[in-house]
Symmetry: C2
């Protein structure tokens, strides 16, 4: 009975935690939380994560860890053989820099586009302005990512890390939403297609019914 | 010249990085970026951090590290004697859980209140809806913090960590904005007044001309 339990939503930012569990070879049980049915706000889920957000990882002893940044870091530390975190403290901090920026800037941009009511309440007259501002942030954000990646093979240093795992979620979202086009984003395309070929991504995409875009 | 350089704005979320530099006893030069004069968008600062955000920490070799989460983690790792990060990987992840949530939920709430244009563009007709939604998030957020802190002396485990440093910024913001009242938030008040007595906070508050509220 020692398995971890991951609460996730299909195609949500929780996907990187799901990917990490596959990458490290952990024994885990995935449990879907349907955002479309507002399950993250139901008492059963709030008993797991009172903040009503995914992902949440239930550890062997029943403790619950939330926030993708924390879960990715924890799994990388607990399963060091998978080498998802660099040894160098500065490179570790660089991974956190990516994760923090993706969560506070890029993810908020997508929330503006997808759930404008979070930012202006229920009056639909305001929604378009929220979406337009979100799209503008995202366009700038993807240009920023393109520039930062440059010719690098991975987001941080010379190896695949938790930063790549989380960035991949935003690669797939950006492809689906039209923010990443081959001509304008050669670095992101090269990086995304390489990372997207990893078995963990193929497997989790199938489990979550997420279409992987190339 | 081997000193670190911190780019910060008075009273902004960069204050926790400033506090950390004092806590670890690093040799550093603080450089103010005036958000009121939009200095974070000027070419001089964009050359340091193209994302136009504070904090940014320039390392001894000229490399630049951004995002409070990354800077706090880096300083804690580079100056282990200050013991700002627990030894246990799960407790380290708990610190990151606090930092990630503060950055993506609480900080966004304050941005809605302070800079609604970020979320709806320049039409002031929309600003009040953004502020109202932000206030609602923040009220819930401070209740959440109150509950999570409970009777604990510190945010994570039995010792003072980078989670307390960043949370302190939100304590002071919450006091100033009226989200934290002694009667409703006894845990936060007890915690905040204890942490607020640390010499680092007294010193940085003076340097940044921030009023420390009790």
């Amino acid at each position: 009975m020692a398995a971890l339990i991951l609460y996730y939503s299909s195609g949500a930012a929780s996907m990187s935690s799901h990917l990490a569990l596959e990458e490290v070879g952990a024994e885990y049980e995935p449990r879907a939380v349907k955002l479309s049915e507002n399950e993250q706000r139901k008492p059963e889920y709030l008993a797991i994560n009172p903040r009503g957000r995914v992902p949440a990882l239930v550890l062997e002893d029943g403790k619950v860890l939330t926030e993708a940044t924390a879960i990715l870091y924890y799994l990388a530390r607990e399963y060091p053989k998978a080498k998802l975190l660099p040894d160098d403290p500065l490179e570790q901090a660089r991974c956190l820099e990516w994760l923090a920026w993706l969560a506070s800037f890029m993810h908020i941009g997508f929330q503006q586009v997808r759930r404008p009511m979070r930012f202006v309440g229920q009056n639909p007259d305001y929604f378009q302005a929220v979406k337009t501002a979100g799209m503008q942030h995202l366009r700038g954000g993807y240009m920023d990512i393109e520039r930062r990646l440059g010719q690098s093979e991975y987001a941080v240093g010379d190896s695949f890390t938790i930063a790549d795992l989380h960035l991949y979620v935003f690669f797939n979202w950006g492809r689906a939403a039209g923010f990443i086009a081959p001509a304008a984003s050669p670095n992101l395309m090269r990086w995304g297609n390489k990372v997207g070929a990893r078995p963990s991504i193929q497997k989790v995409a199938e489990m979550e019914s997420v279409k992987i875009l190339k």
